[in-house]
């Protein structure tokens, strides 16, 4: 294992994050505060409780998930797309490193960035609502697994993308709608039965449900199903990346 290479890629990618630390931190704090103003204060004042929980607190896990999903995908996609775009990818491809090391470096950095943003949102949320965490270990585990698996997905998008429009396409058209429809701001039990069944086909439902369980000990779907969903998604992405590097698709002519 070429640990120096992994560390180099990781540090290089993280330095991009710290170069723009202002917008990296201010942006999620601002958007979280806005969500609390809109959903927590304006709408939340009409919805007193959901599943016995204060609405402001109820939306926090979904809010964190929504952000880390989009951030993981965007960060990882940009991380590998940008060297492709400016041509510096040659250096990574000609270095004595395997695809596993490349993935650990890029995906690890992207996952770290979104994990940090998730933590920042959690801290910000504590200023607005009382936020107990029933299962701290599982809360961190769900967050970490989600960051990693969606960063893997973002890595695939970054390799696939041929321009900046394509880079934004999947986060905007797939991830955000799935997160909004995945129970970020409501409980599945609030939906008509047909929509409850349809929602079970949305993978994000499992993530948000499992994450909400870690906070409030309440879930829309069994926790084991949530864990299996994340694990399955991660394995699927890893398999796809292995195939990409074996065939050289879009990276090695």
């Amino acid at each position: 294992m070429n640990f120096h290479a992994i560390a180099s890629i990781y540090r290089f990618e993280m330095s991009r994050f710290f170069r723009t630390i202002g917008q990296s931190v201010v942006s999620p704090v601002l958007s979280t505060s806005l969500y609390f103003v809109v959903f927590g204060a304006a709408i939340g004042s009409r919805i007193q409780e959901v599943d016995g929980l204060d609405y402001g607190a109820f939306i926090v896990p979904g809010l964190i998930m929504l952000t880390i999903l989009t951030q993981s995908v965007s960060n990882a996609a940009f991380g590998i797309y940008f060297p492709k775009f400016i041509g510096t990818i040659y250096e990574v491809l000609s270095a004595p490193i395997s695809f596993v090391e490349i993935v650990i470096g890029y995906v690890g950095a992207a996952a770290t960035k979104s994990f940090l943003i998730g933590v920042i949102i959690y801290i910000t949320a504590n200023f607005f609502v009382d936020l107990p965490v029933s299962h701290p270990f599982w809360m961190l585990a769900f967050m970490l697994l989600t960051c990693i698996s969606f960063a893997l997905f973002g890595f695939i998008i970054g390799i696939w993308a041929e321009n900046f429009e394509q880079l934004q396409l999947v986060p905007l058209l797939v991830i955000t709608p799935l997160a909004f429809l995945g129970g970020a701001f409501y409980s599945l039990s609030m939906l008509p039965p047909v929509w409850q069944t349809i929602s079970l086909f949305n993978p994000v439902v499992y993530l948000i449900s499992g994450f909400r369980w870690a906070f409030f000990d309440q879930a829309d779907v069994p926790v084991v199903a949530s864990l299996l969903a994340v694990a399955a998604f991660m394995l699927l992405c890893l398999g796809a990346i292995a195939l990409i590097f074996r065939t050289g698709w879009k990276i090695r002519a």
Partner: protein, 311 residues
């Protein structure tokens, strides 16, 4: 003969589009030499370098770097190579020193700030170590690429068109750098369009056209073997036609008839110069001046490509 540091056997590359970029390439690069790969655009120079460095997947054939197969033992093979690409590709917002640290780490080498400092000083970039690469001039950016390629102390350095688009001064400075690297035992393979670059620096020349290696030869031998000489005889009075008794010499005539041109072989037992001058004199032609010219590598290159039907 030394054992080669790079050995290529039957290398074939066909792109997905069906274009054959390399066809049955066999090539050996000797340890410590400067090897210049010449060829027209699209000849396969960059594809050949890319295949050795792992940027392009070979369709068939074998490439070994110091005995390490580039596919089966890619870590050892690639670890010995530094690559300076044709295009200037740098992370625009990163500082010079950071980008070089990144390159060293990528090749599995532990941090060595003094080594990086010596590289930057040698390439006159030390003062710019904290500048963003986008703030540098084109020439400096090219030097940063060289610094990046040297950061992990490679034994083999590939320079893909290293002086394309750079001014004369920088080109000479790069030649000096390359010569210093050779003195340290680094094997250098360069592709170039500038024949004078190959002529000035290379120990051996390879000519590639349409994905095939047409010729690989020691530069001096090549020039001696293929490099004929040309003598131009300036006449006081022009001639309309070449006189009959000068016909056996196969002379050429300039458009205005003031010059007679004689090609001869320096390696032949007799050059025929004395008998030609005597024949000219007996013909009553008055000679104003005589000068000779050695064929350049460019003449040889163009001649070979014409034979191959490439240009």
């Amino acid at each position: 003969m030394q054992d080669p540091i790079i050995s290529i056997e039957g290398l074939h590359k066909v792109y997905d589009s069906g274009f054959t970029a390399l066809a049955d390439v066999d090539l050996e690069i000797q340890r410590g030499e400067i090897f210049a790969l010449l060829g027209p655009n699209g000849a396969g120079k960059t594809t050949l370098i890319s295949a050795i460095c792992g940027l392009v997947r070979q369709t068939s054939g074998k490439i070994a770097v110091d005995g390490h197969d580039t596919l089966e033992d890619f870590r050892k093979a690639r670890g010995m190579i530094g690559l300076v690409p044709q295009e200037v590709s740098l992370e625009p917002f990163e500082k010079v020193l950071n980008t070089i640290r990144f390159s060293r780490g990528l090749f599995g080498k532990p941090a060595d700030e003094s080594h990086l400092e010596s590289i930057l000083r040698e390439l006159s970039l030390w003062d710019k170590r904290d500048s963003r690469t986008s703030q540098l001039s084109g020439g400096m950016q090219r030097r940063v690429l060289i610094a990046k390629a040297l950061a992990h102390e490679p034994e083999i350095l590939f320079l893909d068109e290293p002086t394309a688009g750079v001014d004369v001064e920088l080109r000479k400075a790069m030649w000096d750098t390359v010569n210093r690297l050779r003195e340290r035992g680094v094997t250098i393979i360069l592709t170039t369009h500038y024949i004078e670059e190959a002529e000035a620096m290379a120990d051996r020349i390879g000519i590639i056209s349409k994905g095939r290696i047409l010729l690989v030869e020691n530069k001096k031998d090549l020039m001696a073997r293929l490099g004929g000489k040309q003598m131009t005889i300036e006449l006081v009075e022009p001639v309309d036609t070449i006189p009959d008794n000068l016909a056996p010499f196969g002379l050429g005539r300039s458009e205005d008839g003031h010059e007679l041109i004689y090609d001869y072989d320096t390696t032949a037992d007799r050059s025929g110069i004395a008998s030609l001058l005597s024949a000219i004199s007996s013909e009553g032609l008055k000679v104003k001046d005589v000068h000779t010219r050695q064929s350049s590598l460019e003449d040889i290159f163009v001649g070979l490509l014409h034979e191959d039907g490439a240009s």
